[in-house]
């Protein structure tokens, strides 16, 4: 290790500047803007104190938006956290052949643009001629209008995000699964432990740090990825039925031109994320052994 502060700083300078300008400055600017009323175009801004926060908390909208967010996160946790967890166990410990084939194949959708995924699923869910409606018709059911009905719209959006994220989450989880020593599992099997017991007593505790990482990115990335299908397909509709804490930040800024409310929502979203991250780090730092 070399001790030369100024040299180290020279190497860090480009990244540091970019992070400060494009990641940390916006956080402070949001806090500042959230106390003003402005429409992004007018040359003057009006200081309004906490009015923006107040109007968010008294509106009926917040409850709906919050519920939509929780519902979306809930579906994503099942499809992109629980499912990859189980699949990584199967892939890492229950089969012996074709592992690298499954790994490569299941990761593949993660390389595809969400804009492409949105187009494909828009056709898939098309209520008149789409593949899903034909399957439903053939068993005597009528296809709902997936992107036009409350609740259903969130499920449909979630499947698009899940399709993209599943593979990435799976292989991250798989890395932790294969790090669990095979001998440990063999020993348990010799004592006639069932797969479930092995999963619960050995796998679960040994993979929990990575599981928490996957849990976090499922929430954080899921809400990020959501922007593309929601904007391309529903624009938050029907009647804000597919909007959520993250999308509404965009809506208030670029659709309703109320920067103050957008910034206030951004601050609230940030607090929501900080709570998740702090919970994660508190838990993980106790369990993870860092090298060096």
């Amino acid at each position: 290790m070399h001790k030369s502060n100024w040299q180290a700083w020279l190497f860090l300078l480009p990244a540091t500047l970019l992070f400060l300008i494009f990641f940390y400055r916006p956080l402070i600017e949001n806090l500042y803007l959230s106390f003003f009323q402005w429409n992004m175009i007018s040359p003057t801004m009006k200081f309004v104190g906490i009015t923006n926060y107040h109007s968010i908390f008294v509106s009926a909208e917040l409850l709906k938006i919050f519920f939509n967010t929780i519902f979306l996160v809930f579906i994503l946790l099942i499809l992109n956290f629980v499912l990859p967890y189980i699949y990584s166990y199967i892939l890492g410990h229950l089969i012996t052949k074709m592992q690298s084939f499954y790994r490569s194949a299941l990761f593949l959708p993660s390389t595809i643009s969400l804009a492409v995924a949105s187009i494909i699923f828009l056709w898939f869910y098309n209520p008149i001629a789409g593949p899903l409606s034909i399957i439903l018709n053939s068993i005597g059911l009528e296809s709902p209008r997936w992107f036009k009905e409350d609740g259903l719209v969130i499920i449909a959006i979630a499947t698009i995000i899940a399709w993209k994220s599943f593979g990435y989450n799976l292989i991250v989880m798989l890395a932790a699964m294969v790090a669990v020593p095979k001998e440990l599992i063999e020993a348990a099997k010799l004592e006639n432990a069932s797969n479930w017991i092995i999963f619960k007593r050995i796998i679960l505790p040994m993979t929990s740090p990575t599981a928490l990482y996957v849990f976090t990115i499922t929430v954080v990335f899921g809400l990020q990825y959501m922007l593309v299908p929601v904007n391309m397909i529903t624009q938050g509709g029907p009647n804000q039925g597919s909007s959520n804490l993250v999308y509404i930040v965009y809506q208030y800024a670029f659709v309703f031109f109320q920067t103050g409310k957008s910034a206030a929502f951004a601050v609230l979203t940030m607090i929501f994320y900080v709570v998740i991250l702090v919970a994660k780090y508190k838990f993980i730092d106790k369990k993870v052994h860092y090298e060096n």
Partner: protein, 274 residues
């Protein structure tokens, strides 16, 4: 005997997952080779019979496809190269030097990976507007030249280099830049390539930020251009939309096919210690 049969049963859920994951892609490909009649009359048939190139011809003849392609390539390559430079330089500082607040600085860089994107868009949009960069590729590129996860992965890779190798170079009076260029870079080339490909695919696929910055259709990237093919009612030009979708995901898919082993190994590191 009994055990091996039971083991085979576990392939079923995996095959089912592959079916679910590949089905949308099969549909995209087959629909892009179908004409309008086939699309509506045989939408469940994965085989376009007979296959037609009419959708691709329409895309190439009636739309400025190569303009979209050039715009996307320029933005994606520029972002990839600069991100690679900023990540390598920062990772080098973390591996090679010992300095005050090292952990704090590293963590605050890694943490940016988790900052939700919508929280950043309005302030960054206002900044790009002040700089007069709206509706230019630079407005798209500038906020994306650094990557917390890139620095993390690059640092993980550099940590794998034996300290003795670096010390030997220093004994021969190599400057830090020479150590980086002559010792470290040749050793981390496979991982650096994988990380660059991941940068490129990410930048290529980008939809939301370019949507805010770029207004003229002549400036559009391919993912943005896709929007033009879906109308409010759900669209009717499905064959053309799927042909554009197909052309949009071809470069990332090709890159993935040629480098999947590196990419998967690099990604598998990303969650282990973070």
């Amino acid at each position: 005997m009994k055990i091996s049969k039971l083991k085979n049963l576990w392939h079923l859920p995996l095959l089912l997952a592959i079916l679910v994951q590949f089905w949308p892609l099969v549909f995209m490909i087959s629909t892009s080779f179908k004409d309008m009649n086939q699309i509506f009359q045989a939408s469940l048939n994965p085989l376009p019979l007979p296959p037609t190139l009419v959708n691709y011809e329409t895309v190439l003849n009636n739309f400025p496809f190569f303009t979209f392609l050039n715009n996307t390539l320029f933005i994606a390559i520029f972002i990839t190269v600069i991100k690679l430079v900023t990540s390598v330089l920062a990772a080098f500082a973390f591996v090679y030097y010992d300095f005050k607040y090292k952990e704090v600085i590293f963590n605050s860089m890694l943490l940016t990976f988790f900052i939700p994107f919508t929280v950043l868009i309005m302030p960054n949009y206002l900044l790009m507007s002040k700089l007069g960069l709206l509706n230019t590729p630079w407005g798209v590129i500038l906020p994306q030249l650094v990557d917390g996860m890139g620095i993390f992965l690059m640092r993980q890779t550099m940590r794998g280099i034996p300290k003795a190798l670096l010390e030997a170079a220093v004994l021969e009076n190599a400057s830090p830049l020479q150590v980086l260029y002559k010792v470290i870079l040749p050793l981390i080339r496979p991982s650096a390539t994988a990380i660059s490909i991941f940068f490129f695919i990410d930048a290529w696929n980008e939809y939301f930020w370019p949507l805010l910055v770029l207004q003229d259709k002549g400036m559009y990237t391919l993912p943005l251009a896709l929007q033009m093919f879906i109308s409010a009612e759900g669209g009717s030009e499905w064959g053309i939309a799927m042909a554009v979708a197909m052309l949009t995901c071809l470069p990332p898919l090709i890159l993935y096919f040629v480098s999947q082993r590196f990419i998967l190994n690099t990604f598998m590191q990303s969650g282990v210690k973070g």
